[in-house]
């Protein structure tokens, strides 16, 4: 490596876009010099060259040996379409348990087999025709004789499929492992029983399924590019980076990453990771959008586009085919609707937790919407009483930094880059419980500057400008109490500013939208209107 040996590129290869950033030491610490994003499939070399050109054009002294950039190190992560799994269990509760574990570990479930209502044709077709990467048979914890007989039949079906079709792995979990007697194969894995838990709750089976998903993803990456370097899994690395960030900031941090083909959410505190969820359906445009009208309608339900629902379905599906297109027209509003629906799916699978201090949003969709709207999306879909700062991983740096193996090195880089990697969007406060008939209360937002004193409007979102880089003391005064989780008449807390300002939300938790499409659209438009640039 010649020239600036410490300058390096980060690359986040997504399924729809590739984000790259140039990081180099400036005045004794690492700084982000340039970042850009392009649709997946375009040459990466040209993207890196543009970053170097942009950095040199801004400050040539920052890169004294810019000509040697081709030799600089790359910190790369990649996210791929979710691996596919067929799950089998005794009954519906068993399927729900193993489905939650598999779904929360990032698997896309392409077949469900119930041993107590086994359809041999459908089951075989799912195992052989749906191209799964993994078959999971989860037995009940303590099976009766009858249950054991039902499980042995479904295991016979799975085993026959497994032996006929090379390439996939089979996991026998819990009591299903009894079937492993006399069945020896390197692709056979034994695991713990499925337990009734939410997709984001850590379970032994969930951990194992997460590891198997990473193996499948790594294998697929090696098949696609046998000669290239093995890029780390982007969603795992994002979770690692959020955990390090929480430790550095000594705060509760939640990271939410909405990619094109999958989504992830992670919660961490100063002492480590608290929860993690990788959801195949948590993406902006999951593959199921192409065939599933109900899924498409969950997107259209959030849309502010004035068009017939069936036309909007076509537009949403075209967005699934080309997620990077139509950034200047109605496509942006559909993209916002799709992001809301994706965040809502991620939230539905998330366990109830106290509000974090900081929410970090990541993913290409947030880059093409106004900062205030990105904040509003967090408010609309991750609703918990309380307040949090919201920041955007605008250069998609977190996942590549999370791929650094050494925790100390990772933290040192994060500390250096802290001012650059998070774009402050603002703060959000959810204060439900205010009713029009009662005294709604007032809020005072202190300086810098003259401050703002305003009455709270029940069932609304109020925007208060608080500049990026500054903090403000917010004092709530409510005669009826009940603000921000703890009940109190007066609450004061400090918030940080950002490009979107402070959003004070007095709408109910959870949010209820009108059933009529036109009323729903008008309401969402009214919430968004103050957050769009004036020349919209």
């Amino acid at each position: 490596m010649a020239g600036d040996p410490l300058a390096f590129f980060t690359l986040d290869h997504g399924t729809a876009s590739t984000a790259a950033a140039l990081v180099a030491p400036v005045a004794g610490r690492f700084r982000l010099l340039a970042a850009d994003v392009q649709p997946a499939g375009l040459p990466v070399e040209a993207l890196l060259a543009r970053l170097v050109d942009a950095a040199v054009a801004t400050d040539a002294a920052a890169l004294p040996d810019a000509g040697s950039w081709r030799g600089w190190a790359h910190l790369e992560v990649a996210t791929r379409p979710a691996p596919r799994v067929v799950i089998a269990a005794l009954d519906e509760p068993g399927l729900a348990a193993v489905g939650a574990a598999a779904g929360g570990a990032g698997w896309r479930i392409v077949g469900r087999l119930r041993a107590d209502h086994l359809d041999a044709l459908e089951g075989t077709a799912a195992c052989l025709g749906a191209s799964p990467d993994l078959l999971v048979v989860a037995g009940p914890p303590e099976p009766t004789t009858r249950q054991r007989a039902a499980m042995s039949e479904v295991t016979a079906l799975i085993r026959a499929a497994f032996e006929r079709r090379p390439g996939f792995t089979c996991l026998l979990a819990g009591a299903a492992a009894e079937a492993a007697e006399g069945w020896s194969d390197p692709r056979l894995v034994l695991g713990p029983a499925a337990t009734a838990a939410g997709p984001a709750e850590p379970t032994s089976l969930g951990e194992l399924l997460g590891d198997l998903a990473a193996d499948v993803t790594a294998r697929a990456a090696r098949t696609d590019d046998p000669s290239g370097p093995a890029a780390a899994d982007g969603r795992r690395a994002f979770a690692v980076a959020i955990t390090s960030l929480a430790a550095i900031l000594e705060q509760r941090v939640e990271g939410v990453d909405v990619g094109a083909a999958g989504g992830a959410r992670v919660a961490a505190g100063p002492h480590g990771r608290q929860a993690r969820l990788v959801l195949a359906d948590g993406g902006l445009v999951p593959p199921a959008l192409l065939d599933d009208d109900r899924l498409v309608d969950t997107v259209v339900a959030w849309s502010t586009v004035h068009d017939d629902a069936f036309l909007q379905r076509d537009h949403v599906r075209n967005l699934a085919l080309w997620p990077w297109r139509d950034v200047a027209g109605d496509g942006i509003h559909l993209r916002i609707a799709a992001a809301r629906a994706a965040l809502a799916r991620l939230d539905a699978a998330w366990m109830s937790r106290p509000a974090p201090d900081l929410v970090v949003v990541s993913g290409g969709c947030f880059a093409v919407m106004p900062p205030g709207v990105a904040e509003l999306l967090v408010l609309d879909t991750m609703r918990r009483p309380g307040g949090a700062a919201v920041a955007h991983d605008h250069a998609r740096l977190l996942a590549p930094l999370g791929s650094i193996d050494d925790e100390d090195d990772r933290r040192r880089l994060l500390v250096d880059l802290l001012d650059d990697l998070l774009l402050p969007l603002g703060s959000v406060m959810v204060a439900p419980g205010s009713r029009p008939a009662r005294h709604p209360g007032r809020v005072h937002v202190g300086g810098p500057g003259p401050g703002h004193d305003l009455p709270l409007v029940p069932g609304a979102v109020q925007v208060v400008p608080v500049a990026a880089g500054s903090t403000a003391l917010v004092e709530f005064d409510a005669r009826d109490g009940g603000w921000l989780g703890p009940r109190a008449r007066r609450v004061a807390l400090e918030v940080s500013g950002g490009l979107g300002g402070l959003l004070i939300d007095t709408r109910e938790v959870p949010l209820h939208l009108p059933d009529r499409a036109d009323r729903r659209r008008d309401l969402i438009e009214a919430w968004e209107r103050p957050l769009w640039p004036a020349d919209r």
């Binding site: 040209a46 041999a120 052989l128 379905r313 537009h315």
Partner: protein, 353 residues
């Protein structure tokens, strides 16, 4: 017909390949995958050369499940074919008594064998000539001859026929009334959009397939449901497929693709379902690759084509958002004054090289 005037670019645009996503190109040796259901069986073996129209696989239309044995099933293994024309393997005598076509699924814990079996089977013919690459439990893969023009979506069953341009231009629409028995056996190019009624009429008239720029998702769903009903019927009729070249809704066919289709008119072509593709003759004369041609895929100029002039840096759009843009000299339509050069988000462009 809507004619276009090609405007020559002032200079080739060297950065186009680095900035704009290319349209998927023609590829030689197209691969086609065919799903095999639990009771279906391949009629060919790996490495076998097949011709267009030659039987490829046997689909069982009324598959059910039956249990046999355990006596006389020792030799049966999962996946073994069963049928009146198939000699049972040694010690597989129990299968010989089964009427119908199918395959062994698995052995039950009590020693019996569960089989997928049906009485009605239909033979599916190969839509292209080529070599069988893979015959496995769930699929058959064929490497065909010719050039594959990738599509976006396809539905129906792989088919072949003579290509007929049924509309005057790439942005035309094919009404049901324009389809008659004269199109029997043909694959029709239907322009920018076709509706469900026209697809139904095309199938009724013996048309083998339709190639179209866009299809409303509601019509695609209706077509798929109708295909399922059609295949379940006693006499399913010949294979029929629809291939969507671009996406959902009304979407004109790109002029470079249209030019290819014009050259292929009258020749035998095939539609593949998985992946979606139109297989064109391998000896089709191809136009010279365009250096700077782009197609605008979204926004006010969606569907129009032109010459990419240069990258134009960051542009703030009417919505207040910014993105990288390119300057495009849009081709003028027939009778239209030359449009001004327009700024288009790079993400909304598609390179036609």
């Amino acid at each position: 017909m809507t004619a276009v005037t090609m405007v020559p670019a002032a200079d080739p645009a060297p950065g186009l390949a680095d900035l704009v996503v290319p349209r998927p190109r023609l590829a030689p040796h197209p691969r086609m995958r065919f799903a095999l259901g639990p009771a279906d069986r391949a009629l060919v073996v790996e490495g076998q050369t097949v011709f267009a129209g030659e039987p490829l696989l046997e689909r069982v239309l009324d598959a059910g499940v039956a249990d046999v044995g355990p006596a006389g099933t020792t030799g049966l293994m999962p996946g073994d074919p069963i049928g009146p024309d198939i000699a049972p393997p040694t010690d597989g005598a129990a299968a010989a008594g089964l009427a119908g076509h199918g395959r062994v699924l698995y052995r039950l814990p009590d020693g019996r064998v569960r089989v997928a079996l049906g009485e009605r089977a239909a033979t599916m013919a190969s839509p292209v000539g080529g070599v069988v690459l893979e015959v496995s439990a769930g699929r058959l893969v064929l490497q065909g001859e010719g050039l594959a023009l990738p599509g976006t979506l396809a539905a129906g069953e792989g088919t072949h026929g003579a290509l007929v341009l049924a509309v005057a231009g790439p942005d035309g629409e094919l009404p049901p009334s324009a389809i008659d028995v004269g199109s029997h056996g043909a694959i029709l190019v239907a322009g920018a959009r076709i509706d469900l009624e026209a697809l139904g009429r095309a199938r009724a008239m013996g048309v083998r397939g339709v190639v179209v720029g866009g299809l409303v998702s509601r019509d695609l769903r209706g077509f798929r449901a109708s295909e399922v009903r059609q295949r379940a019927a006693l006499h399913g009729g010949p294979p029929f497929a629809v291939l969507v070249l671009d996406g959902y809704g009304k979407r004109p066919i790109a002029s470079s693709i249209w030019a290819l289709l014009v050259r292929a008119a009258g020749r035998e072509v095939a539609i593949g379902i998985d992946p979606p593709q139109l297989v064109l003759p391998g000896d089709l004369p191809l136009p010279a690759p365009a250096v700077d041609r782009v197609r605008i895929c979204a926004g006010a100029w969606a569907g129009r084509e032109g010459a990419f002039m240069r990258a134009a840096g960051r542009v703030r759009w009417a919505g207040g958002l910014e993105s990288d843009a390119g300057l495009v000299r849009v081709d003028s339509l027939e009778g239209e004054a030359a449009p001004p050069d327009v700024l288009v988000p790079l993400a909304d462009l598609e390179a036609l090289s």
